[in-house]
Symmetry: C2
Subunit: 166 residues, 2 copies
DNA sequence: TATTGTTATACTCTATAACTATA
DNA sequence: TATAGTTATAGAGTATAACAATA
């Protein structure tokens, strides 16, 4: 039965976003949540004037020094061409160095990337804020849910890297 | 103890991406997974020539006809100014219509957005592919993990909307 | 006059192709 | 000559401010 107010040009009542059909779309949720999480990251690390992608570079090079650019680009999910610009900026700030390999494995024009001492100290200071950011997410979700979220995202990412997705 | 091969200019061995410190960064995982999931969505719906954001608009308007643009923009997480362009394109394709409210609630220049019959049929056909996309994700993760992922993302999104994040 | 929608614009991110440099 | 890196450029997505239209 229709109520008296149910007229054709009446606007839809305001509803919380969660009640919409998009609420069950993983892709939609991923996009919204990613923007929010990045925003929190950026806010907490604003004084370091660094983007999430640049942070990813420093973090990967800290764990795996003397890495090639192409391999680094693959890991952080950025095209080699775009990675160049990021690395240029970090090199100008003396946070990392490019060195030619003198021998061994790589072919062609391969360069080895490593953090400078300055870069390591920078990363150490920045990680204080990044850990606060991560702790904030854990506190919001709870330890268990945070682990589940991380594991499920990792599972999807692994399968995407194996070509089962995308 | 250091092995004989442990020289200073030797490159780091190749490792699966998952072994990197970024593997526990929710923000990093969200970005990578979102790109992969969107890519699968785009591939499966390529023939409809529609972006995820445009799909979100159609889906929301189907569930909530006569919605205002500002409210729609808020729900799909796009600035009103950018939403205009998306709506223009969908209107030119006759998938939705803009109508002025003749009376009642809204103030100012408010317009009511609704799907056309063509828009509803378009969405119905497209949803066949979108459901395949969603089923693919469920199959990859398993029903239980998919639900957990959705719930955790929703939880984070709700708290972000309440200003606790970002 | 407050609210809603629109335009214009700029900035970032991402994608592609063509080009350079090195083992 | 195959591999790695670089340049240039184009296209999305996003953000902001100024402006126009309507109750």
């Amino acid at each position: 039965m229709r109520e008296k107010g149910d007229m054709d040009d009446e606007p839809t009542e305001n509803l919380p976003a969660v009640s919409h059909p998009l609420a069950s779309h993983i892709g939609f949720l991923l996009r919204r949540v990613q923007l929010a999480v990045f925003s929190d990251f950026q806010t907490r690390t604003a004084t370091f004037e660094i983007t999430p992608s640049e942070y990813a570079i420093l973090q990967v090079l800290h764990a795996s020094p003397r890495m090639q650019q192409n391999r680094l680009a693959e890991i952080i999910g950025v095209k080699p061409a775009n990675c160049v610009v990021l690395i240029n900026g970090l090199e100008k700030r003396h946070l990392l160095i490019r060195r030619a390999y003198s021998k061994k494995l790589p072919q062609g024009r391969a360069l080895a990337l490593s953090l400078t001492m300055e870069g390591k100290e920078f990363l150490k200071k920045m990680n204080v804020r990044v850990l606060e950011h991560q702790k904030f997410l854990v506190d919001l979700l709870g330890v268990r849910a945070h682990e589940e979220l991380r594991d499920h995202l990792t599972s999807l990412l692994d399968q995407a890297d194996r070509g089962l997705l995308g």
